[in-house]
């Protein structure tokens, strides 16, 4: 695996590391805002991977200027894609942020786990049942209560 | 087989059975008396008993089913006894095999159960519950014995079995264990010691016979004669080679009734569940061992 020590290899390694850091943050963070930041990192890493697919060593930006007619240009498509992907990411993150505000306001907490258990309880209350996994009502689950025979 | 012959068989066979059966009752009572160091009843005592019971003034009936029960009890044994092949009268026996016969033997129990049930006396019902349980107990070894015999003789017809035994050897020689099991089962079927709890002859007031007065009791006495006769002849046909004439058949039948009786009179009475336990243990075991040899 020698080629990991080329420019491309290092770039790819960096991009993957970035998204992995983000992913790890998504897994272990409890705070909603941190989760959002982790998501940002995760996306950034993926965007880097995407833009790297158009990378050519010694290539130049794909803009026709007077002096560069002979030079090798980088692939313009991934750049355009990433542009789109970034904006999409921004939209989603803004949306997430607004949701976080509201959730914080409602639950008074930023802890994902607290929110999850409260949410579960609320759903169960709405539906008029005991929340799953609660110890309060260990009703024996039986297929059908048959009688002894 | 012409009609006359048939008529003769149908009329005479119950008659013979009745007479032989009464002699068996007498013999039984004599044996028990001798074992108890008594003299025992006179020769016609069984007949006297029946006549006396039929002659009673008070004949209490609890309804039609009460009567029908007695009729079924007697009739079932008469039917069974007709199906038995006896010398010179084998014509009807060919119409049904040993399986039919063993089913016929269950009908009297059911009949009696119906009759007693109609009496609305709980003591009677208790007795019936015991009787039917006992039937469950003795029929298992009995059916094993029947199966073994039928398999061995390769026939379900008693006539075929007797023919086989007369050509070859007696069944008791070829299948001694099965024959012993058969004796056990027979004892249970007859309701004699030590399996007599469901008849409870000694405590008639609390047994199944509690509501049987007069000719109802007399009917049961008649039934007993047929029962003894049927059991004796059946066993003789199964294991003792039947008989070419009454002279050879009847001693075997008497022996079948007498021998176990004289041994079993020594024993005390078993409780119902013990009856099942005993009868499902020893005779069944014997029967199975013997089947292992036969098959």
């Amino acid at each position: 695996m020698n080629h990991f020590f080329t420019v491309e290899g290092i770039l790819y390694f960096g991009a993957i590391s970035l998204s992995i850091i983000g992913l790890f943050g998504l897994l272990v963070s409890k705070n909603l805002f941190r989760l959002l930041l982790s998501l940002v990192l995760f996306e950034a890493g993926a965007n880097l991977v995407l833009v790297l697919s158009g990378f050519i060593r010694n290539g130049i930006a794909p803009i026709f200027l007077d002096g560069n007619s002979g030079a090798v240009m980088n692939d313009p498509v991934p750049q355009a894609l990433v542009l789109t992907a970034i904006v999409i990411g921004v939209g989603v993150q803004a949306l997430a942020l607004s949701l976080i505000f509201r959730v914080k306001k409602h639950y008074g907490s930023m802890d994902m786990r607290t929110i999850r258990s409260k949410l579960e309880r609320e759903i169960a209350e709405n539906a008029g049942v005991t929340p799953p996994g609660s110890n309060e009502a260990p009703a024996p689950v039986k297929l059908i209560e048959g009688e002894n025979s | 087989m012409n009609a006359l012959h048939l008529m003769a068989e149908l009329i005479f066979m119950p008659l013979i059975a009745f007479i032989v059966g009464m002699m068996m009752v007498l013999m039984m009572r004599k044996i028990s008396a001798r074992l108890q160091r008594r003299i025992g009843p006179p020769f016609f005592q069984p007949l006297y008993d029946i006549v006396k019971l039929y002659g009673k003034d008070t004949q209490i009936s609890h309804g039609l089913i009460h009567d029908i029960g007695i009729i079924m009890a007697v009739g079932g044994y008469i039917g069974a006894e007709i199906l038995l092949p006896v010398p010179g009268m084998e014509g009807i026996a060919a119409k049904g095999g040993v399986i039919t016969l063993s089913y016929f033997l269950m009908i009297p129990s059911l009949g009696m159960a119906l009759g007693v049930g109609q009496c609305a006396n709980p003591n009677g019902s208790i007795g019936i519950s015991r009787a039917l349980t006992a039937m469950l107990a003795y029929d298992i070894p009995f059916i094993l014995v029947v199966f073994g015999a039928a398999w061995h003789y390769q026939s379900t017809s008693l006539i075929g079995m007797i023919e086989y035994q007369q050509v070859h050897q007696w069944g008791i020689v070829e299948m001694p264990l099965l024959a012993i099991a058969g004796l056990f089962a027979l004892q249970g079927m007859l309701g004699k010691q030590p399996f007599e709890i469901y008849i409870a002859p000694a405590e008639i007031a609390t047994g199944p016979m509690v509501e049987m007065s007069g000719k109802y009791m007399g009917g049961l006495f008649v039934m007993q004669t047929f029962q003894l006769y049927t059991a004796g002849v059946l066993y003789a046909s199964l294991f003792l080679g039947g008989g070419t004439s009454f002279l050879t058949l009847l001693p075997k039948a008497f022996l079948v009734v007498a021998l176990p009786m004289s041994i079993a009179f020594m024993f005390p009475r078993y409780k119902t569940e013990d009856v099942i336990r005993i009868l499902w243990k020893w005779p069944v075991m014997l029967g199975l061992i013997s089947l292992a040899f036969i098959l």
Partner: protein, 240 residues
């Protein structure tokens, strides 16, 4: 527990991604196949006429993606407006004024923003209008515009406020005009979003047909949406 299993699986993922990367043709001499890329680099000059090939791709070849992304921004802005229930910006601002004694930021910030604001506007407009020639374009310029306006509001919340109605009209207008430009082509019997008008002189401002117009729409829309988003988030943040 979670951490350890996360570590375990993440290391697995890293390994697998490494293996996949190793299989990619990027390391071979031929680089990526770049099929589409080559075709575009060859044809962009004639087909679209924008000097910036990325712009050709964004607005020409993949104009629909851009429309989609604008829609996403629009959707996000709508949702933010819906979710933050004190969403009417002006009302939020006035409510804030009532609750807290809302000061302008300090002297430095106020003066700086007064200074920078027109500059930012100019830069933003420049980036937008030259998107087809140089790096940059509607998105980038739109962001600059949005930052300019939202900074103004943040720094001087009392004096400056953005009219919610105005913002929504701008964003609607921009989105509608983007679509209309695309649809005009459709009515002329061509495809949706087909570049119209003459390509003009290659490399000049008035070139590349309708691309600059589209970028203008994009810039306006992005600017309006982002400004709206930022302000909405800002206003609610103070409330809670």
């Amino acid at each position: 527990m979670t951490k350890y299993s996360a570590l375990l699986f993440i290391s697995g993922l890293v390994f697998l991604l490494m293996v996949i990367t190793g299989l990619l043709p990027i390391f071979s001499d031929s680089h990526t196949p770049m099929l589409v890329g080559k075709a575009i680099l060859e044809g962009a000059k004639d087909q679209v006429g924008a000097a910036n090939v990325v712009t050709s791709v964004v607005l020409g070849y993949r104009g629909l993606d851009t429309l989609g992304e604008l829609s996403i921004l629009f959707a996000a802005a709508s949702v933010v407006g819906l979710v933050l229930t004190k969403s009417s910006f002006n009302k939020a601002a006035s409510a804030n004024n009532d609750k807290h004694d809302h000061h302008d930021s300090g002297f430095v910030a106020v003066n700086a923003i007064d200074l920078i604001f027109p500059l930012l506007l100019v830069v933003g407009m420049y980036i937008i209008t030259h998107g087809h020639l140089t790096p940059g374009g509607g998105f980038q310029g739109g962001v600059v515009l949005a930052v300019a306006f939202s900074m103004l509001v943040i720094v001087r919340p009392r004096r400056a406020s953005i009219n919610h109605g105005m913002v929504s009209i701008i964003e609607s207008f921009a989105g509608v005009s983007f679509i209309l430009i695309g649809v005009i082509a459709l009515f002329k019997g061509q495809s949706f979003l087909q570049p119209l008008l003459s390509h003009g002189e290659f490399g000049s401002l008035w070139s590349a047909g309708t691309l600059p117009l589209l970028y203008l729409a994009v810039g306006l829309k992005v600017g309006a949406e982002l400004a709206g988003l930022l302000l909405a988030l800002n206003s609610d943040e103070v409330v809670d």
